[in-house]
Amino acid sequence: MKKVIYSILVTVFFITVTSCNSNDDGVQKGIDIPGITIDGDADCCSAEEAIQIYDFLQTVKIVPELTTEIDGRYRVSVYTRTGSLHTGYNDLYFVATKLTTGNYIKEFTVSNFKPLMYMTKMKMQHSTPISGIVKSFNSNFTAVKQGWISLLMPTSDAGYWTLAYDANVLGQKGGVTPTEVKVDGLPVGQEWLKSFKIDGNTYYLSLVNPADWITGSNEIQAYVSVKSQTGTDPYELATEQFVIDIDPRMPDMGHHTSPDNAALTLQTDGSYRGKINLTMTGLWRIHLTIKDVKGNIVAGGDNLKDGFSSLYWDVTL
């Protein structure tokens, strides 16, 4: 009798101890992400993928004007680093979510990205350089698509910008009709977008994210785009191959320069990459000499009275 009572007590004790915990009441076990329900939907991310994307999206900010809903079931959102756009190169991130669960959809496409600037006084419109395609960020974030846009000038009395794009989410088509977005200018000492002409064609040099640079050795990345024939179609990447020689100087320090810089050369992903060494913070004027594959100078490289090319990017660290 004693043994039976004893075993019952032990059993009761164990049941109580192992289940008396409010943490697991009424929720499914596993990763819990605010605003997202993981329900094993095949179109959507698994819990591990979703948490990675959620964490990544904490580092960027949404551009509310560019959010759209498709078929009442899906939402496409656009993010940039700051939640707004500025002159020059801007990274764009696209994410599609299901409205019911908030989970991220793995298969969707974004296309026909159309930026357009309406010049009010001059009564004309023009576009701006964009990335060739919008594709997956990298193998870790298949549900985040990345593209970029390089805006020629900021919003001002002279004109305003609109953006439009098409999206296809799980077979449903939708998108954003031309929507006005505000484009901020860059502060003094930052000039990240320059242009040059060859035989009547205008080319644009977009410097990628120089705000990431540190004192020391940095990778310098840029895109070369060419003005479209119509001027209102987005400007695609230039088909010609160039070599961008850089000569970084500090105009306030008697044109002090750093050693061991490497010219930007064309990479398989369509960007130009090189190496820039910065010896200190402050204003750096990166003088440019654009050469064709044969080594002939096609732009820049002219030595003005201060001895340096008139074509340059300005970056203030």
Binding site: T215, D252, M253, H255, T279, L317
Partner: protein, 651 residues
Amino acid sequence: MLRLLLLAIPLLADTTISQPRHLDEVVVVSNRQGGKRSVKGQVASIDEHLSQLSHVSLVRRGSYAWEPMVNNMPTERVSTTIDGMKIFYACTDKMDPVTSYVESGNLQSISFNSGLNGNPQATGNIGGALDLRLRKAGFDADPFHLSSMAGYEFNGHLQVYGADAAWSSHRFYVNGGVFYRHADSYKTGSGDVLPFSQFHKLNAFTNLGYRLTNRDILEGVLIVDHAGDVGYPALAMDVKRADAFITSLAYRHTWTESLFDSWETKIYYNHIIHEMDDTHRPDVLIHMDMPGRSTTAGFYSLLSGVAGQHGFQLNADGFYNRLFADMTMYPDGAAPMYMVTWPDVRTLNTGVAVSDDITLPHRQSVHVSAKLAWQQQTLRDKEGYEALKVFFPGMFDHYHQFTGRIAANYNWYPDHWRLSVGMGWGSRAPTVTEAYGYYLNNTFDLYDYIGNPRLSNESAVEANATIRWLPVGDFSLTADASIFFFSDYIIGVSEPRLSAMTIGAEGVKVYANLNRATIANVSLTSWWRISRRFDFEGSLGWALGRDDEGDALPLIAPFNYSARIGYTYKALQLQAELKGNACQSNYAAKYGEMLTSAWAVCNFSAQYSYARFALRGGVENVFNRLYATYADWNDIPQKGRNLYFNLSYEL
């Protein structure tokens, strides 16, 4: 009493104590007999006391904080300690050699070891080791002692005021004092004021001792030093403030009937804040802030004893030092530019040293010393490290070095002679500036210097000899020579591929190891007691410095000479002195040095003591000559005629 003491000084000018050849000492405090001292007495500045040492020359960048060069080698090759404590300067431009962080009121004496035979706590000394000995009242001294002094110099309106008091008993002593020094810019021999040569300095210190038992003593030291508004006419910037906080605690045990004499263990800490200032300069192109910090904590444990003929010392020491300096430049209308000039280098160094004084028969003695040290350095500032990596891709943020030295000296003192021969080998690790300095402008050669983390240790072999002839008690003649053969001599070498940063600079130099270099010093000194009242001392000196291509090294003294006549009558002492340098025609053009003309100056001094007072006065540069020496940075001229006097009172 004082009269007798002062009278005794000339008689002891050639000390009868058999000082080994490599040791020299200048006495700072006034109430000690014998030894070298400055004619101005204790009131003289540290730099004026240092200039009394043979083998020491002083590089002047202004009126304050002269850099002691030893055996014609700069501070990188000299170890400076304060009572055995390691201390490191905080200014990237060498505006603050550590001797500038104490006042003459803190010191008993400055002891100097020439060459590789350094004091046990000295590390990295090739040229020599300076130890600034602090003044402690000591136990069983006068129960109460008070001294005060005031001095004035007409050139530059230099005022000095100091007072200190001491209490002493068998169990306890405490002494402490305050010193204040203030000078305006001085006039050169041309009658013009040299702008930006002013300074002021305030120093306070205290020493405590407590006798735990008859054999155990506890001693503590605290020094606080502040210098402000210090001008450096040889440089493009001045100093807003240079502050030091120096403290230590030591425990000493003594034995009477044992192999050992005493065992002292000391822990110490010092912190230096140094800030440069260009706001007073008229033609500043870009305003810059350049602060520097140096913090050192360390210990040493010194065991000494006598075993038969051997007087030995065993020492273990260690220190941890942090050096950080940066620079922010403010160009008009553009963003500030920032760079790290000393990338927060942490140095951890430990070493063991042994020395032995062996007394041999027939008046011979041998002194042997050796030290082995291991050092580890880490660059903690990421921005500074990444910036240096641009110039040295593949460098690391941590390094370690082994250094050591060994030296031996043989002495023989037969009748009428003192003979000394010595040899040694030693190495030193590169300093933080030489290894990790970043774009440091040097106004001597107008180059920007960058450190090289890949430098090898510098090493040298030393040979020295001294012969002193004393045919009679009234006359002595001494010849002294030393030669240093360097391997991997560290000096800045021009790198034409790099772009200078300072506007107006000639280019960039990177520190490099030269295969070989040689530095030699020769001097001839004579002393003659002409009569009961007159004595004469004269000296001639010559030095040579050559790099691996046979070209002259910079800052090597040209042929120099001095002559002094002294007259003593009761409590009055008079002295006339002539000092001069020949033209420095063998200047180091390759290293940016320029020719320095010959010069000669006359000084006159007088001293009179009465009861508890001592009055000193004199005229420096009697003929008001305009001159600059080879060691005056950027050829800044020395003081013109300077009439001074000072009064000291001892209770």
